[in-house]
Amino acid sequence: MLEALHHPFFQRALAAGLLASIACGVVGSYVVVKRMASISGGLAHAAFGGVGFGYLVGMPPLWGATLFALVCGGILGWTHRRIRESLDTLIAVMWAVGMALGVVFVSLAPGYAPDLMTYLFGSILLVPPVFLWVMVLLDGVILATVALLFKEFRAVSLDEEYCRILGLPTEGIFLGLLVLVALAIVVLIQVVGVILAIALLTLPAAVGRQWSDGLGRMMVLATLFGMGCTTVGLFLSYWFSASRGLDLPTGPLIILLAAAGFGLSGILRRATVRRPGAGAAGR
């Protein structure tokens, strides 16, 4: 099975999976502890509108996706304190409108219709070499930002009101967090697509959280778990194809592996750790 590594496409896919896992592990940890899963899902689907926009105006679709994810992240960041009750609705609107725009834009675009499945479910086996460098760049931005603002992001995730009392620029910090989510989504669109991006932003981080009492460790474990899932998923899909003649889509396979790993990890966690009964939650 290791002969897979001789294929350049496989090497690129492996690299893409590992690079995506870094973005997922780090940003996903904030998504999970700050409970931003629905916001992230909304951004991912809004990004699909950008893919269509890219086709319409003739710019690279992933640039369009980046643009849409960032703009929608900005809108959510600016409004989330002001509209509070209806934030949920706004996310749903963004989610659906993004998808609708994507399809409409593509139908209006000149030339033959592109294969949208690539963007909906990812195409890790077809990563263009140049996109690997984009991923390296995006991972670099994410890691540098988190290295600089780790404690601030964590504080805002835990207790926004207290951060305002401390005089921290709470809104700006939250907005920064949303920008990181948007960048992570761009990375993920290539690997698993807009529909499944949310899974890689939450599942590895959720596993990391089960085995961590600190956020830093959670990020490291989430990244490692993500790397494990993408790597195993790639080899598995290669094996199915090479020895069984089955062409299984790799992105969805990775997600299913991650979900199974999450379930397994939960069971293992329950079995190995006796939760202290006197916790404050146990009232």
């Binding site: 502890v33 409970r35 600089l148 603002l149 404690k151 601030e152 964590r154 504080a155 995730s157 835990l158 207790d159 009101e161 207290y162 951060c163 305002r164 009392i165 401390l166 005089g167 921290l168 959280r209 961590s212 009492d213 600190g214 956020l215 460790r217 959670m218 202290p276 006197a278 916790g279 404050a280 939650a281 009232r283």
Partner: protein, 256 residues
Amino acid sequence: MSVPAVTLRRVGYSIRGTTILEDIDFSLESGEFLGIIGPNGGGKTTLLKLLLGLVTPDRGEVRVFGRGPRDARGTVAYVPQFASFDLQFPIRVLDLVLMGRLGRSRTLHRLGADDHRRAVEALERVDSAGIADRQIGNLSGGELQRALIARALATEARILLLDEPTASLDSRSGTGLYDLLSGFRKTMTVILVSHDVGLISRYVTSVACLNRKLYYHGSKDVSREIIEAAYGCPMDVLVHSHSHREVPPHAPEGEA
């Protein structure tokens, strides 16, 4: 005469036409331990938010050491009700306390050895140095409350505000907590909001009763008369049951 720790002049606040606070007029000297009692919806939490600068009054003026609450940020520390906390959050007690050190610099602030030392000291002041490495979900209610107080102490504030600090504690941990708080009086002003009239009266230096208006007796001696006066104001929740429907006629209906 020194500047009072807190001054409110004819302060009024309402949300969408409903008056929450009306004509609040009082000042508090440094070193006092003020207990504010009053029914749910009486405006206690709103009063704390005014002092923290989280909300702005519609009328009147709030002063903290002679400055507006927003300018006085850093001098007021806050201990929230912990029931709202995500106890599964992966953070250790020491890091929670260090959060109190974050607002002290305007620029990107890297926490240094000094911040670390002060966080440990804050934990020692609440007799909790032993729990520094525990994740917050593995604490008892009393331990978490102390951790949150340590976080407030780590800010080096001069006024400590506590919102129902004993609401989720058994009475023994509650008493221990009050003992601790009355010890802080030498170095800071403490304002706490509580339902627990009987218990706080043993520790505080003055009692105010808040039910839209503030009934403040301003005495340093917590005499029987003051407590009785506090009970005597529209404090149905204490005297009667848990509903403030059956209130004296001057108590407002339908407060937020």
